[in-house]
Every structure is written in structure tokens, then in C-alpha cells.
């Protein structure tokens, strides 16, 4: 008998099919799996059931294209538990969350601090203003505190630097300021439309990514197979989002190194891309476009023609600007060898998405766990090896061009609208389902558990930022503090996706 159950992306299984291990076995299994290169943790979380804490761990196998699901049940108030993190750092954030939500007391977790000060945390007396920052007492060193409100129009979070002169020795990032209880709302709001709107509001820069993850989970629970026209629309929205945000980020990177022309041109190139989304569905960030079981906004031949024209105009302007930027010594001097995350660091802390690929890790749901049209595209990830700001800049450029190729390819064959609307069934009772989507930032993972009536019992959202915030903190070490903004922008992590 195996002590895990393997499932595919977007597959629903009876919750009873997941083996329930004793905690030591559970720990042994999962921490051993992730020692191998092709495995990494995509989600690890817990919820209360029958007054015990049920832990579910999802380890993706990139070679076999499946996910190993295992579980354990532990008593509340269990003291002195061995942590996964002591054996593999990539679990650190998940165990911090379990500690905060359920007061699981790990005896060997190196950094057992609050994650987001959730409203339903176990110790409500712990307040966000009293976060226990790491400190070094020294006459040579000083601290710089930034936030939660920052200089620009960005989300709130607190950054605490320990510096030696201009040089950063250590950065600690404190989050939770965007916490609005979204996972709980998934349970308390019963209408499908409400839940879809919630999925659209997980992260405004990843509307397509998160909403696709939600509808994929939901359709899987309801036993609904999306027709080609739906898959086409979703893939297109996802790749358009990738182009739009990557372009916007290139603009922001130029802003942070005071390269005005790049900032303006990339900024203006993003505008027609998001305006096209509005032309299609009425919203520049594609809110309203993705719905479980249906598509309210048909992708017409006329739109296809408009999109082709848009890409024809975008590409040469984009390349002209990018080629100019990469020849400027003043630009390269700021980007190269700045904010390095080594391959080894990235492996150990479990970085995902574009940031992982910039450090030489082949990790991309589009190729490892493809869904929809990606099963036909045969996607090959863009990989860079330096792990610096420049690698993350180059990846954006190449991924934009790749997405444009995919879109052009898919426009050759627009699927006829499937006019037959099939009512979604109720979700399967007592089931578990998982969905993985490679958003522009990295892998998004949604997991759902239903009760014996087919009602949602638990809903878990993981934004790629959960894995990657620590990568940003490590990347700035030994850099000048003036390079922090450019390092930060090169990751462009989500506060709201993390804080939930």
C-alpha cells in the first residue's frame, strides 16, 4: 500500500482516497520526496474537522505530470511537533501559517513568526504592530524601516532592513496588511457568482490566473468538461495577462533606474493590450470574462482580426525599445549582478514561476502539469541562469514573445462557439480537487474539499508569492539599499495574493 494518492491537475477524488498517515510517517514521506529535483511542494495546509486538525500536503511531480497527495490528522494543542522545515526549507511559509492559524507548536522551525495576522488567528492578542523583528545589536549597524505605506501607489507591507552603511545585511518582510479574510468568504458566500467574483479579487494583477484556477477546480468538482471554445478563451486571457503585466513590469524596472524613455514606452505598450481585454469583455483587467461552465463574451472573428493587428503593431515597437535598452551601459550596470538568487538558494526555499526560471530551475506548470490548450502547445520554458535582476528582465521579454507566438498560433483556429449551455451539476460530495495554473508570476494552486452535501467545506488559495517573498529578502543581501526598489520590481510579488 502506498502512503500517498497521485492525482492529475484538475482531477477530483473522494477525500477518503487520500491516505491518512500518522504524523511522523507524513513528515518522512513529504520531506523525502522534495529532496528529488522533480518534486516540489505546491500546497500544504490544514483545516479543522471533527475537532482535529487535518493536514493535506500536495507535492507536484514535474516528470510524471501528477501530484502526490497525502494527509495526517493531529490533535489540537499538540506540543513540540517536528517541523518539515527543519528538513527542507521550502515548507517554511506553510508551517508558519499552520502555526498562526492552529497554534501548532513546532520545536525545530527556524522562523516561527506570524504570516498575515489573519482575523481568525489562534492568538488574537498578537497585533500586527508588534511583529517580532529580527534584530542585531551593534554600534556599526542601523535599521531602516519602510512601510506599510510606501512611496508609490503600491500595496502595503513593511520592510525592515539591517544595514552596514549603504549595504544591506538583512531584510525582513512583514506582510498581512492586505488581509481581508477571502478564504473564509469562499465558504460563507454560497452563490457561484459570488465565489467567482471573489476569485477575481484575489489579486488584481492575476485576475485571469486565479479565476481560471477557481473555475477549473469548480468544473472538476461538478464533473464538467470544458469545451474547446472555453479553453481557448481562458488560455488567451492568461497569455494576454502575461504580456500585459510583463510589459508593465519592464516599464516599472526602467522607472526604478530612472530610464525615462523605457518607462514611458513600455508603459504605453501595455495600454493597448489591456484595452483589448476591455474591448472583449468590458474590463481592462479581464474581470467578468471567466465563468465556470460558460463564457459570456464570445471571441469573434472580428476580435481575432483586431488582436492580430494589435500584436503586429506591438511587436516591432516592443523590440525596438528592448533592443535599445539592452545596449545601454547605464541600464545594464544597474541590472546585471544585482539582486542575485542562486540556483541553490532557489532550490532550497522552493521558489516558483518566473523567478525560479531566472535561477535555472525548470519549473513551469504549462509544461509540467498542462491543462486546456497547453496540452497541445508543447510549451518549452524560458530558462536563465544568473538569477539576477537582468535574468528576470530577459525572461519577461522572451516570455512576452513566446506568448505572442502562442496567441498567433491559436488564432489560426478559433473554435466555434459551443452554444449548448450545460447546467453545472452540484459538486461531488466528500471530495478533494486541485487546480494548478501558471500565471505570469508563477504557479497558482487552488484546493477544494466538499462535505457530504457537496457544499464547500474548505477552500485553499496559494498565490506564487507565498513561495517567493523570501527569495526577494535573500536577493537584496549585500546589495546597496538603493538597489532595493529594482530588486523588488524584478520579482513584482503580490501582497493581496499572499495576505488573502
Amino acid at each position: 500500500m502506498t502512503n500517498y494518492f497521485t492525482i492529475l491537475n484538475n482531477q477530483t477524488i473522494p477525500i477518503l482516497a487520500i491516505p491518512v498517515l500518522n504524523y511522523d510517517e507524513f513528515l518522512e514521506l513529504n520531506t523525502k520526496l522534495v529532496q528529488k529535483k522533480e518534486f516540489h511542494c505546491v500546497n500544504y495546509y490544514g483545516f479543522i474537522t471533527d475537532s482535529r486538525i487535518k493536514l493535506i500536503c500536495c507535492i507536484a511531480n514535474d516528470k510524471e505530470q501528477n501530484v502526490y497527495i497525502s494527509s495526517a490528522e493531529i490533535e489540537k494543542n499538540l506540543r513540540s511537533v517536528s517541523s518539515f522545515t527543519a528538513r527542507h526549507l521550502s515548507f517554511h511559509i506553510f508551517e508558519r501559517e499552520l502555526h498562526e492559524n492552529f497554534e501548532i507548536d513546532y520545536r525545530d522551525h527556524p522562523w516561527l513568526k506570524p504570516v498575515r495576522y489573519a482575523f481568525n488567528r489562534r492568538i488574537p492578542q498578537d497585533k500586527i504592530e508588534n511583529y517580532p523583528f529580527y534584530q542585531i545589536h551593534s554600534e556599526e549597524l542601523h535599521e531602516v524601516g519602510v512601510g506599510p505605506i510606501h512611496a508609490g501607489i503600491i500595496e502595503p507591507g513593511h520592510f525592515r532592513f539591517i544595514c552596514n552603511g549603504e549595504q544591506i545585511l538583512h531584510l525582513e518582510i512583514q506582510l498581512g496588511y492586505q488581509h481581508r479574510g477571502i478564504e473564509e468568504l469562499f465558504l460563507s458566500k454560497k452563490k457561484l457568482l459570488q465565489r467567482t467574483v471573489l476569485a477575481e479579487s484575489i489579486a488584481g494583477d492575476t485576475v485571469a490566473g486565479h479565476t481560471i484556477a477557481f473555475v477549473n477546480v469548480w468544473e472538476s468538482l461538478c464533473g464538467f468538461n470544458a469545451a474547446e471554445d472555453l479553453l481557448f478563451a481562458r488560455t488567451l486571457a492568461l497569455e494576454m495577462e502575461r504580456i500585459a503585466v510583463h510589459t508593465g513590469d519592464l516599464s516599472a524596472i526602467c522607472t526604478d533606474i530612472a530610464y525615462q524613455l523605457g518607462s514611458s514606452v513600455f508603459g504605453r505598450l501595455r495600454t493597448p493590450v489591456i484595452n483589448f481585454l476591455q474591448e472583449w469583455c468590458g474590463n481592462r483587467l479581464s474581470k467578468g470574462l471567466i465563468r465556470a461552465g460558460k463564457n459570456n463574451f464570445r471571441f469573434t472573428r472580428d476580435l481575432a482580426q483586431r488582436l492580430t493587428g494589435l500584436l503586429d503593431a506591438y511587436e516591432p515597437d516592443f523590440m525596438e525599445m528592448y533592443n535599445e535598452m539592452k545596449t545601454l551601459p547605464t541600464v545594464l550596470a544597474r541590472l546585471e549582478k544585482t539582486g542575485v538568487v542562486t540556483h541553490q538558494q532557489a532550490e532550497s526555499i522552493g521558489v516558483v514561476g518566473m523567478a525560479a526560471r531566472a535561477s535555472g530551475i525548470h519549473r513551469d506548470i504549462r509544461s509540467s502539469h498542462p491543462w486546456g490548450l497547453f496540452t497541445q502547445i508543447n510549451h518549452e520554458s524560458v530558462i536563465k541562469n544568473h538569477g539576477d535582476v537582468y535574468s528576470r528582465t530577459q525572461i519577461r521579454k522572451e516570455e512576452i514573445l513566446q506568448s505572442i507566438r502562442y496567441i498567433r498560433q491559436s488564432l489560426q483556429n478559433i473554435h466555434q462557439e459551443n452554444k449548448q449551455i450545460i447546467e453545472l451539476r452540484r459538486p461531488e460530495p466528500d471530495s478533494f480537487s486541485i487546480s494548478l495554473v501558471e500565471g505570469w508570476r508563477g504557479e497558482i494552486c487552488h484546493c477544494a474539499v466538499t462535505d457530504n452535501n457537496g457544499e464547500l467545506l474548505h477552500y485553499k488559495i496559494k498565490d506564487p508569492s507565498m513561495h517567493n517573498w523570501l527569495a526577494l529578502a535573500l536577493s537584496v543581501r549585500n546589495n546597496e539599499i538603493s538597489d532595493f526598489p529594482i530588486c523588488n520590481k524584478s520579482f513584482d510579488l503580490s501582497y493581496c495574493g499572499h495576505d488573502l
Binding site: Y117, A118, F119, I128, E129, P148, I149, A151, G152, I153, I154, E155, P156, G176, Y177, Q178, H179, R180, G181, I182, E184, L185, S188, K189, K191, L193, Q194, V197, L198, S201, A203, G204, D205, V207, L261, S264, V265, G267, R268, T271, N275, F276, Q278, E279, W280, C281, G282, N283, R284, L285, K287, G288, N296, F297, D317, E320, E324, T327, Y495, C496
Partner: protein
């Protein structure tokens, strides 16, 4: 250098010449109109994910509406979203669109404090505060300042410090964890100062309205100078709203 100049010339003028008259492309869900057609009103009320629709008369509260458009899709004979993006106003009731209403949403000039046009017309510096939102309004507020919308040409800009600001722009449903930072930021802005709520989340809490993680107590203490609906706000909605708020007005007109 030469290449830089070439790109500059090649890109030409990118700004929208007149932001008050620009037309948005494709389908846009702006100010809705509700006809007098007879429909199953209860079905309409039940459909709305955020309880923005009420009956007798049928009314949509744009301060609650998240512009998903579902009501217009299922009841096209009753509700239609127009491309009119001018939806900002300075009083909460101004956001209510009733059956048969065809008129534009305007600001109530009498309710605008005299010092606003006196001090801020021609130059308005704003400090933005995110409080528990989803970063979508932040993206659009950033877009207000890009080369396309170029809000800076009207002297309206976002600044780094509240001490340099004439007011704050709040986005997000205002959660417990940001309640204190928001208060500190507001207190740091010198008088006279304004408050703008940008986006449905800020105006009513939106889809998060009944979340126990919110703390909207801040809003009860102050007068709100501008409500900008949208999910997220459209840059043109924001810019037009602010321009209307700060434009010079003759006393008593």
C-alpha cells in the same frame, strides 16, 4: 542617444487629447440605465452577488455594484451598461441609479467645500493608501499617470509623503490591519485636506463588505469629498471626477 531620439520621434504623441470626451473601446460597463420594462424583480435582486440591486423602484447602487454585468446579461431588456465612464460624485446618494434615470451622474456643486477650489484647482497632490483591496485600483491609479492618460498635465499627482499631500485616496475595503496606518497617514496630511474613495471596495466594501476582517470605522469620522465607483475604477472615471471636484467655481453657482 540618437537611437533614443529616434524612438521618441517614432512613438510620437501618445496622450489622449481630451480626457473629458475620449471614447472607450469595445464593450465597457459604465453608468447603467434601467428601463421601465416589467421583469421578475426578485430574480434580479437575488442575482446580484453584492446586493447592489434593490426593488421599488429598481435601483442599482454604484457604490456597491462590482460591474460584473450579470444583471444586464440575464435581463437585457431591463438593464444596460452604457459606455459613460463619468460616474464619480461627491455625495453617496448620487451613486444610486433608478429605473428610468437617463441623466448623467454629476457632482453637487453646493456640497463642495469652498477651500477645495480655492486651494486645489490647478494643483492637487494626493497620497494613496491601499487598505485590504486586490491591487486592481492601484494598477488603474498608476495608469492615470502614464503617458496615455497623463493626469500630471492637470497638476494632479500622487506624492510619496502624506506631508506633501492635499488629501488621500483610499482603495480597498479598509481592513483591520490597515486601520491604524490609514489613520496615521490621514493625520499627517496638513489641513485643508480631502478624502477620495476609489473603487467599489472602498466605497462599500464590495464583495468583502461583510468580512469580519474589515474595520471601516475611519469612514464614519470624516466627510468624503469624492466617490469614484468601479471594479477597478477606470482612469477616465477617476480623472474626470477629480477635475470636476477641483474646478474653479463661482461662489453660489
Amino acid at each position: 542617444m540618437i537611437q533614443n531620439t529616434k524612438i521618441l520621434i517614432h512613438q510620437g504623441k501618445q496622450f489622449i487629447p481630451d480626457v473629458t470626451k475620449a471614447e472607450v473601446p469595445g464593450v465597457f460597463r459604465g453608468r447603467p440605465v434601467i428601463t421601465n420594462a416589467a421583469v421578475n424583480v426578485q430574480a434580479l435582486v437575488d442575482l446580484c452577488p453584492v446586493d447592489a440591486i434593490t426593488a421599488n423602484p429598481v435601483c442599482i447602487d454604484l457604490g456597491k455594484c462590482i460591474f460584473c454585468g450579470e444583471c444586464a446579461l440575464t435581463h437585457p431588456e431591463k438593464i444596460k451598461f452604457t459606455k459613460d465612464y463619468k460616474m464619480a460624485t461627491n455625495y453617496r446618494e448620487g451613486l444610486l441609479v433608478k429605473e428610468g434615470d437617463e441623466k448623467s451622474i454629476l457632482l453637487n456643486g453646493d456640497m463642495i467645500r469652498a477651500e477645495i477650489s480655492e486651494y486645489f484647482s490647478g494643483s492637487l497632490k494626493l497620497r494613496q493608501v491601499s487598505a485590504g483591496g486586490d491591487n486592481s485600483c492601484e494598477l488603474e491609479l498608476n495608469a492615470c499617470g502614464n503617458v496615455n492618460f497623463d493626469m500630471g498635465r492637470f497638476g494632479i499627482e500622487f506624492v510619496a509623503s502624506p506631508r506633501h499631500a492635499d488629501g488621500i485616496v483610499i482603495t480597498g475595503p479598509i481592513n483591520e490591519n490597515m486601520a491604524e496606518p490609514l489613520q496615521i497617514c490621514y493625520d499627517a496630511v496638513p489641513d485643508p485636506k480631502i478624502i477620495i474613495l476609489a473603487g467599489t471596495d472602498a466605497i462599500s466594501g464590495g464583495i468583502f463588505a461583510d468580512s469580519p476582517a474589515l474595520n471601516r470605522g475611519f469612514l464614519e469620522k470624516y466627510i468624503i469629498d469624492l466617490y469614484v465607483p468601479g471594479n477597478p475604477i477606470h482612469p477616465l472615471t477617476f480623472i474626470n471626477g477629480v477635475l470636476e471636484l477641483i474646478k474653479e467655481r463661482k461662489q453660489g453657482s
